[in-house]
């Protein structure tokens, strides 16, 4: 007769509960803490609606990866994958043979497929018209990358290596796919912390930016009304993505995957003859990739690498990067305001920190608080989309130096 007691004992011993309690001092406590963090992130995504489309997936990926014995994600496989002295170095065969479901998902991050496809969707959803009608917006998009490089320098001072500091600095670009693209290449062990920091701060833009905007601009300047920009022809909108791809990819070839996909998406939107493709890029493809990207990034949040002092430093440096990028954009806005004799409202500079269209909306809201008849949204969209190109160039530069 079957020994029921033995069966139940085996069942208990093979359970995750037994693993956690049996290894409490040797990593079990980390699993428990990470499960609490995952639930906290789920709360932020669902209840507080912090970038819910990504945060819910990241949090659930974190939850899955920290359930012991599930075998969904294997940190050690990816450590070996990156170790030049190991036989599994850069071997996707080993990953496919020994990996779990989230390891397979993560291949898309490692190969940069997901960030690039997300960029394609972003391109298909973006109207570059405001940028084309006011090309000077590009200067604000450049100025707003200040936080990237100051945070990079700050990270070096705090003891991070060059590639790690570059990955942390790019949080200041306020562009999730770019941050994931660069980090997965330069510092994959920090991917979870950097992605969570980047998306959390993007969700907190309406809280982070207004105090900086009020501090760095005068009440009088915030009331400035900007004149309507010229209408942009269809031909210009079609030529733009082709021109930018050629120009930027020749200038910084490392940005070619990101800029190429961004502009392919935009071209599909503007041509008027590829509506089906544009629709797929904006909706179905974007949604599928968001699911795969968010869960696989969440899966990298393993207790042993996440519960470190480095994560806290990343969180602090991330907010510094965001704040300084906003400040850089506003300083650029102030300079432009003075040079044009008060024709440019400096608030639009804050929108240079990518985060389309949230940052532009914040500029519009703060502008309207100071002057209810002021509508800055379209003017702020110029620096906003310029910021996307600017952060991709910044990422390309850092990749060319540290890659």
């Amino acid at each position: 007769m079957i020994n029921i007691g033995e069966v139940l004992l085996n069942l208990w011993e093979s359970s995750g509960f037994a693993y956690i309690f049996a290894n409490f001092g040797g990593g079990g406590w980390q699993n428990l803490v990470m499960l609490v963090i995952a639930c906290g992130l789920l709360y932020l995504g669902i209840v507080k609606q912090f970038e819910p489309l990504l945060m819910v997936g990241i949090a659930f990926g974190c939850l899955l990866t920290n359930l012991p014995l599930g075998g969904l994600y294997h940190q050690e496989l990816w450590t070996n994958f990156m170790d030049a002295t190991h036989e599994a170095y850069h071997s996707y065969g080993v990953i496919l043979r020994e990996g779990g479901l989230l390891d397979f998902f993560y291949i898309g991050v490692k190969t940069s497929i997901y960030p690039c496809l997300i960029f394609m969707g972003v391109g298909a959803m973006t109207d570059f018209g405001p940028l084309l009608s006011n090309p000077k917006s590009l200067l604000l998009g450049a100025a707003a990358q200040m936080g990237v490089f100051v945070a990079f320098f700050g990270a070096i001072l705090l003891g991070f290596t060059g590639p790690e500091a570059a990955s942390i600095g790019i949080i200041g670009g306020a562009d999730g796919p770019t941050a994931i693209f660069l980090t997965s290449k330069l510092a994959p062990h920090l991917l979870g912390a950097i992605a969570v920091a980047a998306y959390s701060y993007m969700a907190l833009i309406p809280l982070i930016q207004p105090p900086i905007m009020n501090a760095l601009t005068s009440a009088e300047d915030r009331k400035i009304k900007m004149v309507q920009t010229r209408p942009v022809s269809k031909s210009e909108k079609i030529i733009f993505p082709i021109l930018v791809t050629i120009f930027v990819a020749l200038l910084l070839p490392d940005t070619a995957p990101l800029i190429g996909c961004l502009m392919l998406g935009n071209l599909a939107k503007e041509t008027g003859v590829t509506d089906r493709l544009s629709d797929t890029m904006q909706n179905a493809l974007m949604n599928i990739v968001t699911i795969l990207l968010s869960t696989s990034v969440g899966a990298t949040m393993v207790g042993s690498t996440f519960l470190t002092a480095e994560t806290l430093k990343i969180v602090v440096l991330g907010v510094v990067a965001f704040g300084l990028s906003t400040a850089g954009g506003l300083l650029g806005g102030n300079i432009m305001c003075k040079l044009t004799g008060g024709k440019v409202n400096p608030l639009i500079g804050s929108a240079g920190v990518s985060a389309v269209p949230m940052a532009a909306r914040v500029a519009n809201t703060v502008g309207q608080k100071n002057n209810p008849s002021n509508f800055l949204l379209m003017h702020a969209m110029g620096p906003n989309v310029a910021g996307v190109i600017g952060s991709a160039i910044a990422a390309g530069f850092l990749l060319s130096v540290f890659g």
């Binding site: 200067l139 450049a142 990237v148 930027v248 269209p357």
Partner: protein, 125 residues
């Protein structure tokens, strides 16, 4: 210095020194500006080309239209509604939606709608 040592391959970019990090930071910021300024020049040139092209097309249009206009009397323009402040251009926006938007804007600003002038409404996609 970063440049001097980089050419010999001796610079350690993993454990980068503070001086080299400062150089990378300044250089990176400068490269972003350089790239976007160049792009701005290209876009400005593109814009000027299209503005000039539009101006040429507009200048040619009245000349071509003049004989035709003489042959057929131009249809009378529709009178604007009483109290309105001129024509409103709609781009990819239904008149119903436009009316709703104008009402919301007037309400938010606390001003009567006939005291506001809407020039154009465009859907931001």
């Amino acid at each position: 210095m970063l440049f001097l040592t980089a050419t010999t391959g001796a610079v350690d970019l993993v454990n980068i020194s503070i001086l080299n990090a400062a150089i990378v930071a300044v250089l990176g910021y400068a490269v972003v500006f350089f790239g976007l300024i160049l792009l701005m020049c290209v876009i400005t040139a593109l814009g000027k080309f299209f503005i000039a092209k539009d101006a040429k097309a507009k200048a040619a249009a009245p000349a071509a239209a003049a004989p035709a206009a003489a042959a057929a009397a131009a249809p009378a323009e529709k009178p604007t509604a009483p109290g309105s402040a001129g024509q409103l251009k709609l781009h990819d926006v239904e008149p119903k939606t436009a009316a709703m938007l104008m009402a919301i804007v007037a309400d938010k600003m606390g001003k009567p709608i006939n005291e506001l002038r809407f020039i154009s409404i465009k859907e931001v996609k």
